[in-house]
């Protein structure tokens, strides 16, 4: 079972919508309550003051995700750097997916973005696992310059989902700006699944693609993390960028 990490700025009152709770109900969930501190404040100092309050809130949230059935737990982290914390906890808990909680009602249709250099197989198998035998329809979306190659990719990705009796549609955007096309396609969908891209100059300047999609589309975004096999490309990145 894939574990999903749900990071929440717990002390700023960030919470999850009922729609997301229902969507993630069959999965293993770790709620990551984090609190980002300015550098003037040692994390330990904030812990003394806020730990109890944050733990209370997290216990309730984890219960919503099914803590009693043993499929959900929570962690509380005080940090100066949100991204570093999400990455570390995802590694430690072996979570393959993290969620950007947005606002949504019951999820009836999922948009699955396969654009770019992402692990299509893992995204598709995660979607299969997530939807299961529930009545949730799926749209596979791809933005590319290569129309015939794109159609082929979408077809291959459709097969395992159709085999699982899921209602699948495809949408191909040729020669359009990928991000805008994705946000346009998201309009009649309740949540988005996408893959994590290798860090690049673009993400450094504009921020993570998933964060921008989440901001534009309002609804929740589930991000399938890059696995061990994909790390080879990341190893070439200078590590100094990660130090703050």
């Amino acid at each position: 079972m894939t574990r999903i990490l749900v990071p929440l700025a717990i002390l700023e009152g960030e919470s999850v919508s009922a729609g997301l709770v229902d969507l993630l109900e069959p999965m293993d969930v770790t709620v990551l309550g984090y609190h980002v501190l300015p550098e003037q404040t040692p994390p330990d100092q904030a812990r003394l003051q806020y730990e109890e309050r944050a733990t209370d809130a997290l216990e309730d949230l984890a219960a919503e995700f099914g803590a009693e059935a043993g499929t959900a737990d929570y962690r509380l982290v005080f940090t100066h750097d949100r991204k570093q914390t999400v990455d570390r906890v995802a590694d430690v808990t072996d979570a393959g997916v993290y969620a950007i909680p947005g606002a949504t009602g019951p999820v009836e249709r999922l948009l699955v973005a396969l654009t770019g250099d992402v692990a299509v197989d893992r995204i598709v198998s995660f979607v299969g696992e997530l939807v299961g035998d529930r009545d949730i329809a799926v749209t596979l979306f791809l933005a590319t310059d290569d129309a015939s190659g794109g159609r082929e990719l979408l077809e291959t990705a459709t097969t395992p989902l159709v085999d699982q009796a899921i209602d699948v549609r495809t949408e191909l955007a040729v020669d359009e700006p990928p991000l805008e096309a994705l946000v346009d396609a998201a309009v009649d969908h309740d949540a988005i699944v996408m893959g994590e891209r290798a860090p690049s100059l673009r993400t450094l300047v504009f921020g993570e693609e998933a964060e921008r999609v989440a901001a534009e589309s309002v609804g929740p975004v589930l991000v399938v993390r890059r696995g061990e096999d994909d790390e080879t490309t990341a190893a070439e990145e200078p590590t100094s960028l990660e130090e703050s």
Partner: protein
């Protein structure tokens, strides 16, 4: 023969007890029962704190004052300071890797030597940092006035203190209300300063060695004999206080076993070399008498001597940035050291409250900023510097003593990743040198320093004598 770590005992006069929970330390986070504390500072961040705190004073404020006292031998004074700092940085690194917690020197001493020594050091460190910050701010004031002068607005030295006060209050308010990540800015400032200095030293060094520019007659190395070299070393030791500030953020440092020793020892080595070279270049360029007459901002004229108006502007700009980054880094360290002491109930625990609106420790920042402004108003550069050094040197000496005490009978919990080379000679020398340097200070500085320590003892006896911290991790 080891003892396990014991829970802290006792309560202060208000009935508060030390707030300590068992923790597990990993390279990436500190894990307590209910939560995790992320370690977010890398080696670059650690070096930037160390170098950024130190470089302001040694390069931009002291050359004139030091050359006035010791002549060209002021280089030797800075070298002595570097050796003493290194002798302390090594033991401090060992203790920091054994106890990677915020609080730095105070934490090591209270756990290694007990509550009385801990309280004296912890509270003295608060005041030591306050004196140091006031000193940086006055230095900043001199550079601000010089900047105006370079821009053609002559305001005279009467504005030094008002400007220093204004910016001191500004830093305090910014630290309470500002939530932007200034750490990246600090890294940039340090990188910029180092580049300015390397260009300046390369050119000045070549000139001084007679390879480019006109030749100058060398003056006598130590015109007033050997004694002033040591008194000057005691004065300029303020330029080496920053490495212990790295230990105050030990709890937030990634891979502390590697990064703490590297940033402490590394920053002392970097600034030590830069100081010695700068003084050499400065005294070769203008002569120590001229430097002495120019006082706090003598380096501006040195820049002008070697590189013309561009050099003067570069040094004025560098001086502004450097004294500002020193002052700001020290305000932050002060608030962290107040937190460390109040967590252990040696000060009222409300001192470490965090402000709900900004998430910043406003009480501790206020307890730093208030006294800083009072001391800045005195404007006594040399006294401020020496008292700061006095209070830090006492802590440094005791850090070495604490290391020896812990090593002689190693408790079970004591497991440092880095062990000091040359034990017991290095820590013993570190302790002796730290205390010896105090003997070379002006009497006034020693009286003020000793008076503050006496007050901290009185406070301990009145407020917190029932608290037991030795070995309480």
């Amino acid at each position: 023969m080891g003892e396990t770590s014991s829970p802290p005992e006792g309560a202060n006069i208000e009935g508060e007890s030390p707030q300590i929970e068992p923790t597990i330390e990993t390279d990436e986070a500190t894990i307590t029962d209910d939560s995790e504390l992320e370690r977010t500072l890398g080696l670059t961040g650690g070096l930037a704190i160390g170098i950024g705190t130190m470089i302001g004073a040694g390069i931009f404020v002291f050359p004139g004052l030091a050359a006035d006292q010791a002549g060209p031998a002021a280089s030797a004074s800075f070298a002595i300071g570097a050796v003493v700092a290194l002798l302390v940085a090594l033991p401090a690194s060992e203790l920091a890797t054994a106890m990677p917690k915020s609080g730095g020197g105070y934490y090591f001493i209270s756990r290694g030597l007990g509550t009385l020594a801990g309280a004296v050091v912890g509270l003295s460190l608060w005041f030591g940092l306050v004196f140091a910050t006031a000193f940086y701010l006055v230095g900043f004031g001199y550079y601000a006035v010089d900047t105006l002068a370079e821009l053609g607005i002559a305001v005279g030295e009467g504005l030094v203190i008002p400007i220093a006060l204004l910016f001191g209050a500004g830093f305090t308010v910014l630290n309470v209300t500002g939530t932007e990540n200034a750490a990246k800015l600090q890294n940039g400032i340090v990188a910029l300063l180092l580049s300015i200095l390397v260009v300046f030293l390369t050119y000045g060094g070549l000139d001084a060695a007679g390879i480019v520019g006109e030749s100058s007659t060398p003056e006598q190395f130590a015109p007033d004999g050997v004694f002033p070299i040591f008194t000057t070393a005691a004065l300029v030791f303020t330029s080496y206080l920053g490495f212990a500030q790295v230990a105050t953020v030990a709890g937030e440092m990634k891979d502390p076993g590697r990064n703490l020793p590297l940033s402490m020892v590394g920053s002392v080595l970097v600034v030590g070399v830069l100081y010695v070279l700068t003084i050499f270049v400065a005294t070769s360029g203008l002569g120590s008498d001229t430097l002495g007459d120019l006082g706090e901002t003598a380096m501006v004229e040195v820049g002008r001597h070697y590189l013309g108006p561009v050099g003067a502007v570069a040094i004025v700009f560098g001086g502004l940035l450097a004294t500002m980054s020193s002052a700001n880094a020290s305000v932050l360290s002060t608030s962290r050291s107040i937190y460390a002491v109040s967590r252990d109930a040696l000060l009222p625990q409300r001192a470490s409250r965090i402000n709900l609106r900004y998430g910043t420790p406003h009480v501790a920042l206020g307890m730093a900023g208030g006294p800083i402004l009072v001391l800045t108003a005195t404007g006594r550069v040399e006294l401020l510097a020496e008292v700061a050094s006095f209070l830090h040197l006492v802590m440094y000496g005791l850090i070495c003593v604490a290391l020896i005490a812990l090593r002689r009978d190693e408790p079970e919990w004591y497991d440092p990743d880095f062990r000091v080379p040359g034990y017991p000679i290095v820590p013993a020398l570190g302790a002796i040198c730290s205390f010896a340097l105090i003997a070379f200070m002006q009497p006034a500085s020693r009286y003020v320093g000793a008076g503050i320590m006496l007050l901290t003892v009185v406070w301990y006896v009145y407020y917190a004598r029932d608290i037991e911290l030795k070995g309480a991790l």
